[in-house]
């Protein structure tokens, strides 16, 4: 799609900070690989506001009997995360980082920071709220020639991470809870998917330029607010990778356009909301069905309920974005509100074990004409009924176009329904933390030590290390800029080679599933130092890094030994060259001096990583010369 008329996107980037401790306690700000030693079973009850209002989605979850199991281990959690102790003072290191980020974006720090409680009741915060504070307002960043307004920079605690769900119980690990996050929010001033990605990368570069943010998958998360003219404002949460943003935005644009088209079609067909009726019991139709799902549900005392959707024929099966049809959207609602496993709809019947006869009979029972469709659910009566009521609600929304929702980003760039959009953010003061005054002197002191802006860093990389622009920018976007400078200053390995390893090579390894985020800066530096000292050749860097990532407790020297990548001694090399010459006499006879290249290639195949071509070539040349001289 090349035209995105009517599209408006706002970004909220969340970035984990590299601090010694969490935001409100002394636990280390990192995830734990250990097994949980404690499990807490809790219920979160929605609180009533002064207006007597309760968040409807929250109330729904609570009334269903939702239980939350929090998993905790001592390494990364304490009583604060367990909501058994009041928060400790706000982490000064985190506040300083947030201020530095704010100043780099020309946002104005507030005079007094007030920590707020933002109600979040899905379980991801043990208290039922997230502690968050606005640090600075009204900044701006120049990205790709356009001035992007930064609405606010805020400092908040990261949430617990979901580890599973079974029945009414959802499991969360609270090691991530409390890790400091900086949130950078732009206004809705982005008008294309590509621009969204550029802006995200631009903000990401400023964050990384501080050197104070964590690295690795999951440490930078984006929420997007996407609105389409005549469509709706959709909140998309949790885009984990910057390079997925443009795809997410363009697919959402596509999805909304498709839904608008469906609404148009329904209007043309003259469908009215009053025509959407109540669910009907159609169990009789399926009493002998071969469809496994329905048979199992009936065997356990369930029923099959169906609802007629007049005028919807062909529209339920219509694809909005790859893998998502209107029917899929309805099934997500059914699963959320009814707790059922899924729905059937007539656009895909007969199918899934439902026969032609059954489909025909169903049509007759529901009085469907050619333009009508129906949705069925097979489950316990109450669940099936709740599910179909949710489907009806979604059908009503389809008549009007695009419903406002909160959706979750998926790995492939599509999104799925997460929950109804909450009303205005319910925030009230966190009274356990007194307000923090930001003194003018402190701001001036920080201004004097602000890190280099990304553009300056790029220019400097190009000039000082002779890197081309592409490699410089890749380095800037990677998490390894500071490490690059360290390696370049402490070793003689060619900077462009180091940069390539730290960007393309590590990315390639990660794509292959190698856990490169386990590699520490010290380990990587040491590998380059081994090359520098001649212990191994630079071609072995990649295999050594791969080995280390999968043996995280080992060191580079052990890797060299284990992989047999020690440099071959000169004496040994001479012997090997002589051997190879003996084995390839014919080649020598045929090509004479020109055989050097081929011989080099042959030997490097076996000696890769243990010798550098620059070391080997002179030896081969010398031996070939000698040989040829002897032949004369």
């Amino acid at each position: 799609m090349s035209s995105y008329t009517g599209l408006k996107v706002g970004l909220e980037l969340h970035c984990q900070l590299k601090t010694a401790h969490k935001l409100f306690c002394q636990c280390p700000a990192k995830l734990s690989l250990k097994d949980p030693e404690k499990r807490l079973l809790r219920r979160l009850r929605p609180t009533q506001s002064e207006l007597g209002e309760v968040d409807p989605a929250a109330l729904f979850e609570f009334q269903r009997g939702r239980l939350i199991c929090y998993e905790a281990e001592r390494e990364s959690t304490c009583l604060v995360e367990a909501d058994e102790e009041p928060p400790h003072a706000l982490n000064g290191e985190a506040l300083e980082t947030a201020l530095i980020i704010s100043l780099m974006m020309e946002a104005k720090p507030v005079d007094e920071v007030h920590v707020m409680r933002k109600v979040v009741i899905d379980g991801s915060n043990t208290t039922g709220f997230q502690r968050t504070a606005a640090i600075a307002l009204n900044g701006k960043l120049n990205i790709a020639g356009k001035e992007i307004p930064i609405l606010h920079v805020s400092l908040e605690e990261d949430a617990a991470r979901k580890t599973g769900e079974s029945g009414l119980t959802v499991n969360y690990r609270i090691d991530r809870l409390g890790i400091p996050l900086v949130e950078v929010a732009t206004g809705p001033v982005i008008f294309s998917p590509e621009e969204a990605e550029k802006v995200a990368y631009g903000i990401g570069r400023v964050l990384k330029a501080t050197g104070r943010v964590q690295r690795g998958l999951g440490t930078l998360r984006q929420d997007l607010n996407v609105s389409v003219k005549s469509g709706a404002l959709i909140e998309i949460k949790g885009v984990q990778r910057l390079d997925l943003i443009s795809k997410v935005v363009s697919l959402e644009f596509q999805r909304q356009q498709a839904l608008l088209a469906i609404a148009g079609e329904l209007k043309k067909r003259g469908v009215k909301p009053e025509e959407l009726g109540e669910p009907v019991n159609v169990t009789e139709v399926f009493k002998d069905t071969k469809c496994k799902v329905i048979r199992n549900a009936l065997r356990e005392g369930g029923v099959v309920l169906a609802v007629k959707l007049p005028g919807f024929h062909g529209l339920l099966g219509r694809e909005l974005i790859p893998g998502v049809r209107l029917g899929t959207e309805m099934s997500w609602r059914a699963m959320f509100y009814g707790g059922v496993g899924g729905i059937f709809h007539t656009d895909e019947l007969p199918g899934y074990g439902v026969s032609e006869d059954e489909t025909r009979l169903l049509s007759k029972v529901l009085s469907l004409n050619e333009l009508d469709a129906a949705v069925l659910v097979a489950d316990q009566p109450l669940k099936a009924r709740d599910a179909l009521h949710a489907v009806l609600e979604r059908a009503r929304e389809a008549l009007n176009g695009v419903p406002e929702e909160t959706r979750a980003a998926q790995e492939d760039g599509t999104t799925r329904y997460m929950r109804p959009r909450p009303g205005s953010a319910r925030m009230y003061p966190e009274t356990d933390i007194p307000p923090i005054v930001i003194a003018e002197e402190e701001i001036q002191a920080l201004k004097a030590i602000l890190p280099e802006k990304p553009e300056k860093v790029t220019a400097r990389l190009m000039e000082k290390y002779g890197l081309n622009r592409k490699l410089s920018e890749q380095l800037l976007d990677s998490d390894y800029m500071p490490l690059f400078e360290e390696v370049a200053s402490k070793t003689h390995v060619a900077p462009s080679y180091v940069a390539t390893i730290l960007t393309e090579t590590l990315k390639a390894l990660e794509r292959r599933g190698v856990p490169v985020n386990r590699l520490t800066d010290e380990q990587i530096l040491e590998v380059f130092q081994l090359v520098d000292r001649g212990v191994t050749a630079k071609e072995s860097v990649e295999p050594i890094l791969e080995w280390l990532a999968t043996h995280p407790t080992s060191n580079p020297a052990e890797a060299v030994n284990s992989l047999n990548l020690q440099m071959v001694e000169s004496a040994e090399l001479e012997k090997q060259v002589e051997q190879v010459l003996r084995e390839n006499v014919n080649l020598l006879k045929k090509l004479g001096k020109a055989s050097t290249g081929k011989l080099l290639g042959l030997m490097m195949r076996n000696l890769r990583g243990r010798v550098s071509p620059q070391q080997l070539l002179p030896i081969i040349e010398a031996k070939v010369k000698d040989y040829l001289k002897n032949q004369e």
Partner: protein
């Protein structure tokens, strides 16, 4: 809420001059830059140099006033009408329950406009915030006091006892007292002595985690307390609070054997030198009785009061090197009785024998408990104990020091002679002394 709650000094002056009030949409301009937001109240503990605004994003920020600051009111705030959601009609035939509030907030609402957390304690509020209650009982509420529990005195205890007696004697089938957790143990002990043979269980309840938060232990504690008070097969005065950090089980503790043992955790309350009286399973609503020796619930019965207490007493915790002069000045101040928290089996240093002996001679009751909390005092085992017995110190078995103090106040309120004081203090009246102790380990 006052029109400019919490503001003082320069900030107050500027706000008054602009005519702004809490809830108004105002604009604050300084050095050419403006910010708009709703004026929020200020805490009286924060400085007088800032004005608090709520921005459209919902965040509060503090703006420094000083230099050339201009404040302008853009729109007057309109206090929205509070529409309490309709109370579900109580089921017919529900038992009568009384909920007496003395402080501590078992239920509250958040005013997102101002950020204030308002207690919501009358029956309508309770049904509205905890709709499950409408299936449990017909609730009558009394807002008796609104005190932090550290400020309570024997007068408050007597007031609570009268309120309980009134409720029970007018047919209440359940009585729950909402109380701050800090001194809930003391109150529970006091009521155990003041209320004579209550026919039903009187349950004290509080919350460790504030009730404005979704994770609060308040709702499950309150619902458990009501259920237990209405249907448990035992009678007496008890405390009901979380048994662990999970919301699964609520522990029921005898009022004379319970103590707050953690500053903030849900499971702060522990039974000491006694098994739990009962356990309530929050997910199924069932009550499991764990102590076979609890008084039984009775269908009818009036509860009588013995509310007179004498608070000319002191609780003193012994420590090595305690100066005799200090103990002497305490004992000289006109006290009628003192409870000592001795070390180990009930010991104090030799240096303190003289002040104690002199006090006993004057007729002051000196009772001995242990700062170990767990275990029984025994003054027969070591010479120190025997010396103290000779001096006239009275060992108080395995009573909690706090319970012993409260009991002493109550005993002094009715005993006519030193012998009578001693006899009442050493006799087990309502389970404050256990005759046998089984393994419990020690520590929460």
């Amino acid at each position: 809420m006052k029109a400019l709650e919490g503001y003082r000094g320069l900030a107050l002056k500027l706000l008054q001059e602009s005519g702004a009030q809490i809830g108004d949409l105002i604009e604050v301009t300084r050095d050419g830059e403006s910010l708009r937001g709703f004026l929020m109240p200020r805490s009286e503990y924060d400085d007088e140099n800032h004005v608090v605004l709520k921005l459209s994003s919902g965040y509060n920020v503090g703006l420094r006033v000083g230099g050339s600051v201009a404040i302008r009111v853009l729109e007057k705030g309109v206090k929205p009408m509070f529409k309490r959601p309709p109370r579900p009609p109580p089921k017919p035939g529900l038992p009568e329950a009384y909920v007496i509030s003395t402080g501590g907030t078992i239920a509250s609402r958040v005013d997102y406009r101002t950020g204030g957390v308002e207690p919501a304690l009358n029956a309508e509020d309770l049904y509205s915030i905890y709709p499950e209650l409408s299936e449990l009982a017909n609730i009558h509420t009394t807002l008796l006091y609104s005190e932090f529990s550290e400020n309570l005195t024997k007068e408050h205890w007597a007031g609570m006892a009268r309120a309980v007696a009134e409720a029970v004697n007018s047919g209440a089938q359940g009585v729950v007292i909402c109380h701050g957790t800090d001194t809930m143990g003391y109150t529970a002990a006091a009521l155990s002595f003041i209320l004579q043979h209550p026919p039903i269980p009187i349950i004290l309840v509080g919350s460790q985690r504030s009730s404005d938060r979704p994770s609060s232990d308040a709702p499950s504690n309150l619902i458990a307390a009501l259920k237990i008070s209405l249907s448990a097969p035992f009678a007496g005065v008890y405390v009901a609070m979380h048994e662990s950090s999970s919301d699964e089980y609520i522990a029921v503790h005898r009022g004379v054997k319970v103590r707050k043992c953690h500053t903030s955790a849900r499971d702060a309350f522990k039974s000491i030198n006694a098994p739990l009286a009962a356990r309530y399973h929050a997910l199924t609503g069932t009550i499991q009785v764990l102590d076979d020796h609890l008084p039984l619930r009775r269908e009818m019965g009036e509860v009588k009061l013995e509310e007179r207490m004498d608070d000319n007493v002191c609780l003193v915790k012994f420590y090595p090197g305690m100066k005799p002069k200090i103990l002497e000045s305490i004992l000289d101040s006109g006290l009628r009785g003192i409870i000592l928290e001795g070390s180990g089996l009930g010991h104090v240093s030799k240096a303190l024998y003289e002040p104690i002996r002199k006090a006993v001679e004057r007729g002051v009751f000196v009772g001995m408990t242990s700062q170990c909390l767990w275990g029984r005092v025994n003054l027969n085992v070591y010479y120190t104990g025997r010396d103290l017995l000779k001096i006239g110190v009275v060992p108080l078995e395995d009573m909690l020091p706090e319970t012993a103090l409260v009991k002493l106040m109550w005993v002094l309120g009715r005993a006519n002679s030193f012998e009578e004081v001693k006899e009442l203090m050493t006799r087990n009246l309502v389970g404050e002394i256990s005759e046998t102790r089984w393994f419990q380990g020690c520590g929460p």
